[in-house]
Amino acid sequence: MSPALPRLLLVWLALLLLLAATLGAAFLPLGPAKPWIGYSIAAAKAGLVLWFFMDMRREGGLMRLATGAALLWIAFLLCLVAADYLTRSRPAGAGEPGATNAGEPL
């Protein structure tokens, strides 16, 4: 048995536990926090896969930078798209005259 195997198995176990946690959390009455919890756990899983399975643990700066860059750019896309959808205003009432775009957000 190679020395790396126990570590890999432990990571796999952790991943399955996180999966159980995210599934369980979905059934709890967490309200608006639910998606945050779900995606945080997903991020944790992704972190484990990146660090241990994809060997970012042992890679040099360049590879880590490349990985970080991809993550950053996805963040650019998601954050600025969200900036629009989160700040759109609904009309104040049905056909209310004078309702402008600078009204209440969401």
Partner: protein
């Protein structure tokens, strides 16, 4: 001892070529990540536009199929990682077996997915088919997004599966102590896993427990 791949232009040193190949794969994975980023941006926009309908549509998804598939893919990633370690330690046969293990897991994933699609077909929630009926327009849109996302993912999964198989068959790849080919194929496979790790909460967990 045939331990390295052929050196090809313009490289002078095998070490450099191996580094370049791995960097190339990682850069490529960056582009794949951006591709799926677009799908997540679409899902994000739709969720912000119609929060309640999104949750409601998600609650009709087959949560157990999705959860099982997540576990299956996590396991397949384990297999791929084991294959890389085995190749690096010179254990060619273990590497081959682990790679086939990953392929097998991928096949299980596809089988579960197929069953899921079949159930959805029976329930009449596949848009475009004659038996399709939805409670709302948004539910139809959600199902479309689901099929587009999982379809694109499945396409990449099949490609990854083929690559895993090629690595498993290729004797020189398994004998390469730098595990260049196996390592790069494994990286690709992990991306397939990573995409699913985020697709799962997006599609299945949004409406779970509702």
């Amino acid at each position: 001892m045939a331990e390295q791949r052929e050196l090809h232009e313009p490289f002078h040193q095998p070490e450099r070529q191996a580094e370049a190949d791995r960097l190339g794969m990682l850069v490529f994975l960056g582009s794949e990540a951006m591709l799926f980023g677009g799908i997540f941006a679409a899902a994000l926009a739709l969720r912000f536009l119609h929060p309640q309908e999104f949750v409601s549509a998600s609650s009709h998804m087959k949560l157990w199929h999705g959860t099982l598939n997540t576990a299956v893919l996590l396991t397949s990633s384990l297999m791929a990682a084991i294959a890389v370690e085995a190749a690096r330690s010179g254990r060619r046969r273990s590497a081959g077996r682990a790679l086939w293990g990953a392929v097998a897991s991928a096949l299980v994933f596809l089988a579960v997915k197929a069953h899921e699609y079949w159930l959805e077909y029976r329930e009449g929630v596949i848009p475009g088919l004659p038996n399709a009926h939805f409670t709302s327009g948004f539910e139809q849109l959600f199902m479309n997004l689901y099929f587009a996302a999982t379809g694109l993912h499945a396409l990449h999964l099949v490609v990854g599966m083929v690559l895993l198989g090629i690595a498993a068959i290729n004797r020189r790849a398994r004998e390469d102590r730098r595990a260049v080919l196996i390592g790069n194929v494994a990286l690709y496979w992990h991306l397939v896993d990573l995409v699913w790790i985020f697709l799962y909460p997006t599609i299945y967990l949004a409406g779970a427990g509702e």
